[in-house]
Symmetry: C2
């Protein structure tokens, strides 16, 4: 451990030295101290991030994903954090860490993942997703590649806030991990004690579906005692402002296949007589929502847990950028009958993800297709059960006159039923939403607001889906405090991190570690 500590240039401050418990400085003060530390150490912090980004981290690339875990162990242990690997066969382990602060009465777990989405190097501007590159602005804004500045004693802040680091996981999620550890270094350097015991859960297969996370955590439940879990995954608000969010939606996939004749038929010889499954499917889908986008499926909104007063107030205070988004996205009239985007995200949705029947364009053939397929998706909000949602949709399809089955129809079924739909539940999970009026919720909002000059956006739930129900099931209250820029090309090529967001994230995490109290 000594060697790694030396490499990282970290002073191993004895824990007892910072456990004297003077009154903690206020969050704004902590943010300033972290900033001060960061400006003197940018080269080292960026180097730590770059070294981490240089280890390829696709979840299915077993040797490399395990190298990432080993690297994390070294990084954590160098900081005196007790570390355990929670193994998953053939995958990257869950990296668990624990740092006890003797006087703390609360324990906070930070969650992030260290694996990244698969890469297609040819689609990356620089062609090398695992060789971090620095640019003086976003590529879309004409950013040019520049060398990483060399360390000089004279030059304090060598990096510009608008510069960006391009690499896989530069934002999703390696940089929040590095920001958290750098914040810890800053507090120690500034002799600011931790207000909470810190635990970390760094997952190695989130981008591969987190299929083993729940089981693995259940197996090691004894390690997971905590009063709060903070997830660092995801970007900040579209406005660029910091974000605290308390929920996300669930998500289920539904495959619908409507059948026509048993084989595609010549449209000249059978058209007007053989039922066209693309037409039947169109009629079915068109009946699911009204022109304003409201779902017409019976009971679709019945189980929604309404927002409380605090949630409603937070929603009302959120920045509204609908007009800008409409302009940027070329949308003349959104769905929702005039409701704001953020309001609509608090409702369950029904979305056609894709359609397919026979061929179009130059490949089009003069046939009555044998089938037409739609991929549907429902986003769920708190209170809704995934299987019940699926059943509502299947019942609606049956009510439209379809014989609903879960298999390819037999010839007997085809001969017996005028309209046949195969409706398949493709899996999914429920929403999760932490009440905003819990003392811990209020405390987190207060610290983040104070650390950011009251700039943070507070959101009862995002519209997206992450399986946070896993933490619910473990009895953990969770809150999201992401730090990376919104335009980070997450999951795509040219993923990047805007350094200004990275620096600010360190300040926010530092303030939480130093001041969170309820």
């Amino acid at each position: 451990m000594r060697n790694i500590a030396v490499t990282l240039g970290i002073a191993l401050v004895p824990l007892s030295a910072v456990a004297q418990k003077p009154a903690p400085p206020a969050p704004a003060q902590v943010a300033r101290e972290v900033r001060d530390y960061r400006m003197a150490n940018e080269e080292r912090i960026v180097r730590e991030l770059s070294e981490f980004l240089s280890i390829p981290n696709i979840a299915s690339d077993t040797p490399n994903i395990q190298k990432n875990a080993a690297h994390l162990v070294g990084t954590l242990e160098a900081r005196g954090i007790e570390t355990h690997l929670l193994p998953i066969a053939g995958r990257g382990p869950v990296v668990f860490g624990k740092l006890i602060s003797p006087e703390a009465k609360r324990t906070v777990i930070f969650y992030a993942h260290y694996d990244g989405q698969p890469v297609d190097p040819a689609a990356w501007t620089d062609g090398k997703p695992f060789e971090p590159a620095l640019r003086n602005a976003a590529i879309e804004a004409g950013g040019k590649r520049i060398p990483f500045p060399a360390y000089t004693v004279k030059q304090g802040a060598a990096y510009n806030d608008d510069w960006r680091i391009y690499a896989r996981s530069a934002s999703d999620d390696k940089s929040p991990i590095v920001a958290l550890l750098a914040a810890l270094d800053a507090l120690r350097a500034k002799k600011i004690p931790l207000a909470v015991n810190l635990k970390v859960i760094f997952e190695g297969e989130e981008e591969a579906g987190s299929t083993n996370l729940q089981r693995t955590l259940e197996l090691h439940k004894n390690l997971l005692g905590a009063d709060l879990l903070i997830t660092a995954d995801g970007p900040v608000h579209q406005s660029g402002r910091p974000l605290v969010f308390f929920g996300n939606r669930g998500d289920i996939g539904i495959g619908v296949t409507v059948y026509g004749p048993v084989r595609a038929l010549h449209s000249g010889h059978y058209g007007n007589w053989a039922p066209n499954p693309a037409m039947e499917l169109s009629r079915l889908l068109g009946a699911m929502k009204d022109a304003e986008g409201r779902v017409l499926i019976e009971g679709y909104y019945d189980d929604v847990t309404p927002l409380g007063e605090v949630e409603k107030k937070a929603l009302a205070e959120m920045p509204v950028n609908d007009a800008d988004l409409r302009r940027e996205l070329g949308i003349a009239k959104p769905e929702g009958g005039g409701k704001k985007l953020v309001e609509l995200l608090m409702q369950p949705s029904l979305n056609i993800r894709g359609l397919r029947s026979a061929y179009i364009g130059e490949q089009a053939q003069n046939v009555v297709p044998d089938k037409a397929e739609a991929s549907l998706e429902a986003r769920l909000v708190k209170g809704e059960d995934p299987k019940k949602k699926f059943e509502q949709i299947a019942a609606f399809i049956a009510k439209q006159g379809f014989y609903v089955i879960d298999h390819e129809p037999t010839m007997e079924e085809r001969r017996a039923h005028a309209r046949i739909a195969k409706v398949v539940y493709e899996g999914g999970y429920r929403a999760s939403r932490t009440p905003m009026d819990l003392p811990v919720s209020k405390a987190v909002v207060e610290v983040v607001k104070a650390a950011t000059g009251n700039d943070a956006v507070i959101m009862p739930s995002t519209g997206g889906s992450v399986p946070m129900y896993i933490f619910d099931d473990l009895g953990l209250v969770w809150i999201g405090v992401p730090i990376v820029n919104y335009d980070n090309h997450q999951h795509s090529s040219d993923e990047n991190l805007r350094l200004g967001h990275f620096w600010r994230g360190m300040e926010i995490y530092g303030a939480i570690l130093a001041d969170l109290n309820w």
Copy 2:
């Protein structure tokens, strides 16, 4: 020519010898005489067909398609038919032939095409579309490959009617060409004179869209004087019975693209707000037809030229196999509100050929797609104008609230219009229908019925589309007399010819050549 004549074993009977004009034998007698000749010459006739089928005939394969034309020239000239090649740059020429019968007052043109659909050898059971194979039944019926029987003097009819020859163009259209020429040989051998002057038009790019046919024929209009054109293209009736048809439908293609946001959006962060183009398209398509399949587009049926009394009577007399088809195709309830298939084929149709939006199944992504596309097709009947039909459809789309354009929308258009549809005319042509009460129409029906023991099915129009309007435009009255089996896998792999149909086709063509008179 002598050499080819010897190879083919054709006796070059001087025309003067058959021009003595005795009273012609009745069609049934001609059919018997042709059959008698055929049974003594099956090996030779099949060999002629096999040699022809062995020359690859994809329209775009210039060297080979021209070999086919050269082969045809040899075959025609060996029979004393005056032959001209009507050239098309880079394609197979139109092979024109003329055989004057001094006493004939009428001239009949036979049309067929010698090119075939492209082949995917891997999809063929025997892997070699241009090496004709003989089977003792259809592959679907368990037919096994057997050797072509060797010629023996003792054995008269060496072939079974149910045997099939497998090769590209075995049915579509090389066999009708060979059947016509074999019928001519039979009449000469039996000293039956021709009742009509015979001309032939053998096209070399029908399967590539006949793009040069009209222009080429217009250029050589002086050759095309005739009282009737018989098209040999296509199969007989589904019942297996011979067919005479007097029309076919026109056909136009329409591409419809409905637009959503300018790029696919995360369905969690924008679903319920960003309009979904797959939903908009579904609603649009679903509005085009009622549940019985009747098109709801204004004026859609207004221009239909009604069937006359003769056509209605023919329709009423057609075999009805709707129940069998329903059973075979797994259709519980056809469209059309109870009307028979053959009645529905006399109406214009609107068919969704294909649908596409984003991805389905395992490839599905959680997005609001940026666009949704449909390929539509309208079949037209006599009286309807292709461009007007397209305009009706475009007007309907506009009436549903879409801003209809013919290009990708600009950002300004996207921002200004809630619903945008690109509607593109993909080309097509009008229907063609020869009145069934013309003297020539009655004469053809009479001869074919008489030659087939009154077994022929008489159809005012098929549901399919072939650009017969080209012959209309040239002032030629046309009637369809196809001969090949319906289950011939036309356009697909394992194309085949049932020999019984081939033999019967020779008899029908022989009777027409010997007896057609009006």
